[in-house]
């Protein structure tokens, strides 16, 4: 995973709450077996509308999405994170994220920055008043900056550390292989396995 310290890019106001992962990428795009190239599925239903924010200049080239509350609800599909990143987004700002989406984002290096709704509203106004305004998201001091606006954001310390270092979770866990082995040795013998049962 690529390390993330700070990012500056065009902010995109998405004035919608409850943006579920079916909206971020519909199920029809989930049939692929590859890990890249999902940008065409991003907000597919809404992109058919010429007034949708990502169809407008200069938002098309945006990389910081500013969305309403409860972003990423619903399906666990990590494709939602891949689609956002494949399109070019590096950060999503919202006052509340669904748990699985936030976890998926953290694994892939997409920053899910949780800001107060009040700051989200101020960002929306700013980005709509001056389309193309750049937003800087700094992970070192957990701050969003745009023009004169300075807003703090929340992200859990462990995810922040991993993102700053660009560390892979699996490699970190495998350092504890001995402990996993010890735990396995103590598991109850009656716990089920998926080994096929003898046919009678």
């Amino acid at each position: 995973m690529e390390a993330f310290t700070s990012h500056t890019g065009v902010g995109v106001p998405l004035r919608r709450s409850n943006v579920d992962t079916d909206q971020i990428i519909p199920a029809v795009y989930l049939k692929r077996v590859t890990r890249t190239g999902f940008e065409d599925g991003l907000f597919a239903a809404w992109r058919g509308d010429e007034h949708f924010v990502l169809n407008l200049e200069p938002f098309k080239a945006g990389s910081v999405l500013v969305a309403g509350a409860d972003f990423g609800t619903g399906s666990s599909r990590e494709h939602a994170v891949w689609a956002l990143m494949d399109y070019g987004f590096r950060v999503v700002i919202s006052s509340r994220f669904a748990d699985i989406f936030r976890g998926n984002a953290g694994k892939q290096g997409l920053v899910a920055a949780q800001c107060d709704q009040q700051h989200v509203e101020l960002l929306w106004k700013l980005l709509e008043a001056e389309p193309g305004t750049e937003v800087t998201v700094d992970l070192t001091d957990k701050t969003v900056r745009a023009k004169d606006l300075v807003a703090p954001f929340e992200i859990d310390d462990y995810t922040r550390w991993r993102l700053l270092e660009g560390l892979d979770d699996i490699a970190l866990t495998l350092r504890h292989g001995d402990e996993i082995g010890r735990f396995e040795g103590g598991r109850q013998s009656w716990l089920p396995t998926t080994d096929p049962l003898p046919t009678v």
Binding site: D22, V28, L30, V81, Q108, Q188, P192
Partner: protein
């Protein structure tokens, strides 16, 4: 130290406690796989030269993409076919047990696990699928994960996780006839909202929950994610033990006694504290349906489409306006007057044998309204076989419904079972999101009883409406 059910299961699976900001590392007892969220995870393993650590705790099934007709023929959609074939290749290469299309044990992953007896109290269960919360009905800590986490579990059989908060959902009293587990959970979601459970594990408790069958408990836990919670749990009791006993992977003999003795300890202690509590009066509940585009936008069937102008919160008002535009509904319209084109009975929420029996009881001797198409999709091949043994297939067919093979089907329309733009469904599934059942499709979430009655009348209805 006293604790809640969720905390006890968590604590029993900690491989190592994190220090400072570091999360705990939890052991995973059962990892379920399907074709949609696993290909990139297997690819990751291959790239890193890693193996599946515990193939004996891993099982796969084909469910999201599979057609529900002509399953003896190759899948017509080449992209779906590739995804299913990729799962088969991956399972063969890594040594994972797979129940493919056509197999007697194939079905929706969350129907298959419990039915095989693989889901047991006190376990940790994960799957790259948000409805993994279903398995919490057994007192397991079960939750959906993303594909990176799928790869992580395949490689290590563990997950780094940070502690959650706990919320008690107390449902006391008794359900009136015609009111079901689906109505309980839709009422819970309407009450706490689609984000109300974020960061929490929900524990459903109270006399109305204790009175539910295992299958009904699965319906409740299944939709915990629709309230924003990753997991929902119900303490195991005699109902749970009776359901598990004798299933293929259930313990037996002395192992059974040891397991039950442990399972009986899996209860929230009397002096344990929840971080939040919600109360629902079961006696007050009536059949519940959704009118909008998220599962929190629901009302009792006897109500009317709400007027957004009466919603004080600006964001919620705007969301309601957008939902009504998408749904093509006018404020003030009685929900009972809403006409549907399609009725879908199935999914990991309501595709089990009891759901099919309940719907068949309503349909017996009646006919689906003209102009309405009803799809009955069993949750698994075993459910299908059981239904046929009981003659339910004949009830559905005689009523004019379609009797299909097992899979996720129209719940999310990854296979050919989809709504056309503008079509409206009454669906026993779990999500009424825009386009979920097909681009431009409009979904009303309902119980199996309401689905069956709606099929007969052609408008959203409860079985009681058929008696008038």
């Amino acid at each position: 130290m006293s604790g809640t059910l969720a905390e006890k299961v968590w604590e029993a699976h900690v491989v190592r406690h994190g220090t400072g900001a570091e999360p705990d590392l939890l052991y995973i007892d059962l990892h379920l796989l399907h074709e949609v969220t696993s290909p990139q995870a297997f690819d990751g393993l291959r790239l890193a030269g890693r193996k599946v650590r515990r193939t004996d705790l891993t099982i796969a099934t084909e469910d999201h993409n599979v057609p529900t007709v002509d399953i003896d023929k190759p899948i017509a959609d080449p992209i779906s076919r590739t995804q299913v074939e990729t799962l088969r290749r991956n399972c063969a290469e890594f040594g994972v047990r797979l129940h493919p299309m056509g197999d007697a044990e194939q079905g929706i992953v969350h129907v298959v696990g419990p039915q095989l007896g693989l889901t047991q109290p006190g376990m940790t269960v994960v799957c790259g699928d948000s409805h993994t919360s279903t398995h919490g009905a057994f007192g397991a800590l079960a939750f959906g994960i993303g594909t990176s986490e799928v790869e992580h579990v395949l490689a290590t059989q563990t997950l780094p996780l940070r502690p959650f908060k706990t919320m008690a959902i107390n449902v006391d009293g008794s359900l009136k006839p015609g009111v079901t587990a689906k109505d309980i959970i839709l009422a819970v979601i309407a009450k706490i909202g689609t984000g109300g459970g974020q960061g929490y594990v929900l524990e459903y408790r109270g006399s109305a929950i204790e009175a539910l069958s295992m299958e009904a408990r699965m319906t409740v836990c299944n939709m915990s994610i629709e309230a924003g919670a990753r997991a929902g749990m119900i303490a195991p009791d005699q109902t749970t033990f009776d359901y598990i006993e004798g299933r293929p992977h259930a313990p037996s003999g002395a192992d059974w006694d040891a397991a039950v003795a442990y399972w009986k300890t899996l209860r929230t202690d009397d002096d344990a504290k929840f971080d939040a509590e919600v109360h629902i009066d079961a006696d007050e509940l009536t059949p519940f349906v959704t009118w909008g585009t998220n599962p929190g936008q629901g009302l009792p069937l006897g109500a009317a489409v709400p007027d957004p102008a009466s919603i004080p919160d600006e964001n919620e008002r705007v969301a309601a306006e957008k939902a009504l535009t998408y749904m093509g509904l006018e404020p003030g319209t009685p929900l009972r007057d809403i006409q549907v084109d399609t009725v879908f009975l199935g999914s990991c929420t309501n595709g089990r044998i009891e759901d099919l029996r309940a719907a068949a009881d309503v349909l017996r001797g009646k006919h689906v309204a003209s102009g309405v198409r009803m799809l009955v999709v069993p949750g698994s091949m075993r459910v299908r076989a059981q239904a046929e043994e009981e003659g339910l297939d004949k009830v559905f067919l005689d009523a004019g419904a379609e009797w299909r093979q097992a899979g996720c089907s129209m719940c999310l329309g990854m296979n050919p079972d989809q709504l056309k733009p503008g079509e409206r469904s009454a669906s026993t599934s779990n999500r009424n999101f825009e386009g979920r059942q097909g681009k431009g499709g409009r979904t009303h979430l309902v119980s199996p009883l309401v689905a069956a009655a709606t099929a007969v009348r052609g408008t959203l209805s409860a079985p009681a409406d058929l008696e008038n």
